[in-house]
């Protein structure tokens, strides 16, 4: 469950000339039950121009033994810091191929951020809290966004051209079939897409200091 929602967490930088920056994609994602789906990563991958994305800085907090936000999308080479806002230590780790790393039990903000050089999905866990789960989508394209609570997001001011739309969600079932789009002359395309999710596997979590043993 996502308890804290931060709609836009990364800064979009414009690097193209104004004549080329013209198109908008507004997208709404639903699940198989027609329910608006937040935390879905939306990526447009240009078929022709291989624009290198600019590295960014991003933050994933640990608040009340949760990663906040739970899902972020970053460009290749971005740096992510993991400040621990709890009064206990956390042990952030990943065994994902894109970036295996660990930050053994620490408090506060680590001195050095973690650099994600390879595109892919990095699943974050906490060694001492099984339920803590975070996802970092490391993109090879600069055109990325994440759906908000109403399943909606947009990618703005990108140049004309043919693009592949890719979606990713932590629960997505199977691989998403990319959708082809063609943008030209300040086109603004609104699109609603639904994806199929796997059922969410629950992970047991203590309810509180004096509460029941497991969360339902």
């Amino acid at each position: 469950m996502i308890k804290y929602f931060f709609p836009y967490l990364f800064i979009y930088t414009f690097q193209f000339s104004p004549s080329l920056v013209a198109n908008d994609l507004i997208i709404t994602v639903y699940d198989q039950n027609k329910k608006a789906l937040p935390n879905t990563v939306v990526k447009l991958l240009s078929n022709n121009s291989q624009t290198k994305p600019q590295p960014q800085k991003a933050i994933i907090d640990q608040v009340n033994k949760e990663y906040v936000p739970q899902v972020i999308a970053i460009t290749q080479g971005s740096k992510v810091t993991f400040p621990n806002k709890d009064n206990i230590k956390h042990h952030v780790y990943s065994f994902s191929d894109a970036k295996p790393f660990e930050l053994p039990l620490y408090e506060g903000t680590p001195a050095n951020p973690v650099v994600f050089d390879n595109p892919g999905i990095v699943v974050l866990g906490c060694n001492i809290h099984d339920w803590m789960r975070g996802y970092i989508y490391v993109s090879d394209s600069p055109y990325i966004a994440i759906t908000n609570e109403s399943g909606k997001t947009s990618i703005k001011n990108f140049p004309d051209g043919n693009y592949q739309l890719e979606l990713w969600h932590p629960q997505i079932k199977g691989d998403f079939q990319p959708v082809d789009f063609s943008f030209k002359d300040k086109s603004i395309i609104e699109k609603a897409i639904s994806i199929t999710l796997k059922p969410m596997v629950k992970i047991r979590r203590p309810k509180g200091r004096h509460g029941r043993r497991y969360e339902e």
């Binding site: 065994f95 866990g125 789960r133 969410m200």
Partner: protein
């Protein structure tokens, strides 16, 4: 009746023992039935509880596996090994985990594409597919992505569990299993105190015992349990049944283990074992039975004796009375019905005794026949007319004879005489009516009529004369020389009770009686011992008579012919035959007024006859010779004296 018992005691015993036996048998059977039923219910309850415990144990084992698998799936130390992709390392780590887990026999790691990553049961195999994908599919349906099922490895069922392996998202599946085998059965048996068997459903739709705590199983036993399981599982009828196991009976509870009905557990308890405490009760019952039986028999014998002893005494006394001993009395001091009976019996015996005394006395006072007659009827005044023969006897000149003797001497002599005479009469069925001093009045045909009374009376008279002769010869009558006369007559008399209601005599009266007495009086005149009337002579066909005369006795108008008996018919001596002939001739000539001829014959008869017959007729003939009888002479001789 099937049985007949001669003795009351035996009968009482038989019925009591029968009653006791049936009662005890009923108690025994009902107690036994109740015990068995109770034991069965108890066993069933125990088995149901046991089944709960059994389920709980299996569930806990499974839960333990789950918990351990969860620990493993979150084990941080295992993660680097897992991600290393190095098969020996992964396998080794898994074996390490398995070693920590008591009771589990296998661990398998399967990737998300159903490929086996590592498998402890087949350490060397790689690149193989997981054999129970259904198990993982089942897990995918679960909110925690966990599942459990029973799977067969060879003939052994295994409880399998699967949990997701988080690294940190689901990266693989961890499968852990434990064998439901003999050790599990033994373990559960030690907890629930019941026999535990596991049976697996084979592909040929049969049930096979995979493990059991029973020492041995026969084919018959297996068939029974297969039947029970089939019924329980497919007909959903019984989960509880009774199975013969050798000499024991096992109450069996069928407990399917998995939903797919691959494996079923049997929980069983011995009926004999459960009945053991009741056997003690049974033994107590048996002892009680014997004690009751012996006590009852003793009691019955005592009771029967108490009843039969007085009854036996009663019987003995009744027999005494039957044989005429009325003095017997029963000495029973009981206040109950038997005591009352004994009292009544004693009173009855006393009554009988008194009655018998009366009867004896009566028999002495009157003749026994009359006593019988009196006793057989209500005694009341009045009589009935009967034909009878009356005999009168008398001692001639008794008064004169007695002069000079004391009364005691006379009584003594008289008693000897009367006893002898009475004997003669009674021997000839005569009845002594009364003694009148030296005279005797006897009846024949009274009170019981018969056709031989006349004959009997003559016989009696002849015997009396004979007896007197003997008495005289033997000098039993002292110096006295008795002459006696007997008169006999047959005719109608009135017989009955005469007198007053308080004092009465059974006797006979009538003309016939008087005549007999008159005839007795004539004996002296004719110088004979016996005179019978014509009516008696006519009926006494056994005798030969001499006709004596035709007489008109005192007080009578009609003449009668009188006779003297001389011999039994056909036994006349020569002299008697001659006498008889002369007698007839005399009477013939006499009545035909042939006096001379009569005289002639009278002279002859005097030679043969010592009676006064000759003298009497000679006198008459002499008289008629002087004064002949009138023309209307009827030959009769009239007596003016008795």
């Amino acid at each position: 009746m099937l049985f007949r018992f001669r003795k009351f005691q035996t009968r009482l015993l038989f019925f009591l023992v029968l009653l006791l036996l049936s009662l005890q048998l009923a108690i025994y059977i009902s107690v036994r039935t109740a015990n068995i039923q109770h034991a069965k219910v108890e066993i069933s309850d125990n088995l149901k509880v046991g089944a709960g415990v059994f389920n709980r144990i299996l569930t806990e084992r499974t839960q333990n596996l789950f918990q351990y698998a969860r620990l493993l799936s979150a084990d941080y130390a295992f993660k680097p090994a897992f991600h290393s992709g190095d098969h020996p390392t992964i396998l080794s780590a898994m074996e390490n985990h398995l070693a920590r887990l008591e009771g589990a026999q296998l661990m398998t790691l399967v990737d998300l594409d159903n490929n086996v990553i590592a498998k402890t049961l087949a350490p060397l195999q790689t690149n193989i597919k997981f054999v129970w994908p259904e198990l993982i599919k089942q897990a995918e349906q679960n909110e925690y992505a966990e599942a459990t099922s029973i799977e067969m490895i060879g003939d052994t069922p295994y409880q399998m569990i699967v949990v997701p392996y988080f690294s940190p998202d689901i990266s693989a599946w961890v499968i852990i299993g434990f064998a439901i085998d003999q050790s599990v059965a033994d373990d559960i048996k030690s907890v629930i105190q019941s026999e535990v068997s596991f049976l697996t459903h084979t592909k040929s739709n049969d049930w096979k015992i995979s493990s059991t705590t029973l020492p041995m199983t026969t084919e018959d036993y297996q068939n029974q349990i297969k039947h029970l399981i089939t019924q329980t599982i497919f007909d959903k009828k019984h989960s509880l049944g009774s199975i013969q196991y050798g000499e024991d009976e096992l109450i069996t509870f069928v407990q399917p283990i998995d939903k797919k009905l691959k494996v079923t557990a049997l929980l069983q308890r011995s009926l004999n074992k459960a009945l053991a405490p009741y056997l003690k009760l049974q033994a107590t019952l048996q002892t009680l039975f014997w004690i009751t039986l012996i006590l009852s028999i003793a009691l019955v014998i005592a009771l029967a004796r108490k009843v039969t002893k007085p009854v036996k005494e009663l019987t003995k006394s009744a027999k005494n009375i039957e044989s005429g001993n009325y003095t017997a009395r029963i000495n029973i001091n009981l206040k109950d019905e038997i005591g009352e009976l004994a009292d009544s019996f004693n009173k009855m015996a006393k009554g009988l005794e008194e009655k018998e005394k009366v009867r004896n006395l009566l028999g002495k006072v009157v003749s026994s026949e009359i006593a019988e007659e009196l006793l057989s009827k209500d005694i009341e005044l009045g009589g009935e007319e009967k034909e009878a023969t009356i005999l009168f006897s008398d001692i001639r000149q008794f008064t004169t004879l007695c002069e000079g003797y004391s009364a005691k001497e006379i009584l003594n002599v008289l008693n000897i005489y009367l006893t002898s005479m009475s004997e003669a009469i009674e021997n000839n069925k005569g009845v002594i009516d009364k003694y009148i001093g030296d005279a005797i009045m006897a009846l024949f045909g009274i009170p019981l009529s018969n056709n031989t009374d006349a004959n009997q009376s003559v016989s009696a008279a002849m015997s009396m004369i004979e007896n007197l002769k003997k008495l005289t010869e033997k000098s039993q009558l002292g110096q006295l020389n008795f002459q006696m006369g007997i008169g006999i007559n047959t005719g109608l008399v009135v017989a009955g009770n005469m007198g007053s209601p308080n004092r009465l005599n059974y006797t006979v009266i009538g003309d016939a009686v008087n005549l007999a007495s008159r005839l007795e009086g004539l004996t002296k005149y004719y110088g004979v011992n016996i005179i019978v009337s014509e009516s008696t002579r006519n009926r006494a066909t056994n005798w030969e008579f001499l006709e004596l005369d035709k007489v008109i006795v005192k007080g009578k108008a009609e003449p009668i012919i009188i006779f003297q008996p001389i011999a039994t018919k056909g036994q006349l001596s020569e002299q008697q035959t001659l006498q008889l002939e002369l007698n007839r001739k005399i009477l013939f000539h006499y009545r035909n007024r042939e006096w001379d001829k009569a005289k002639e014959v009278i002279e002859q008869i005097k030679l043969y006859d010592d009676s006064k017959f000759g003298q009497i007729y000679q006198k008459r003939v002499d008289s008629f010779l002087n004064t002949p009888p009138p023309n209307n002479w009827d030959f009769s001789n009239k007596f003016d004296t008795k």
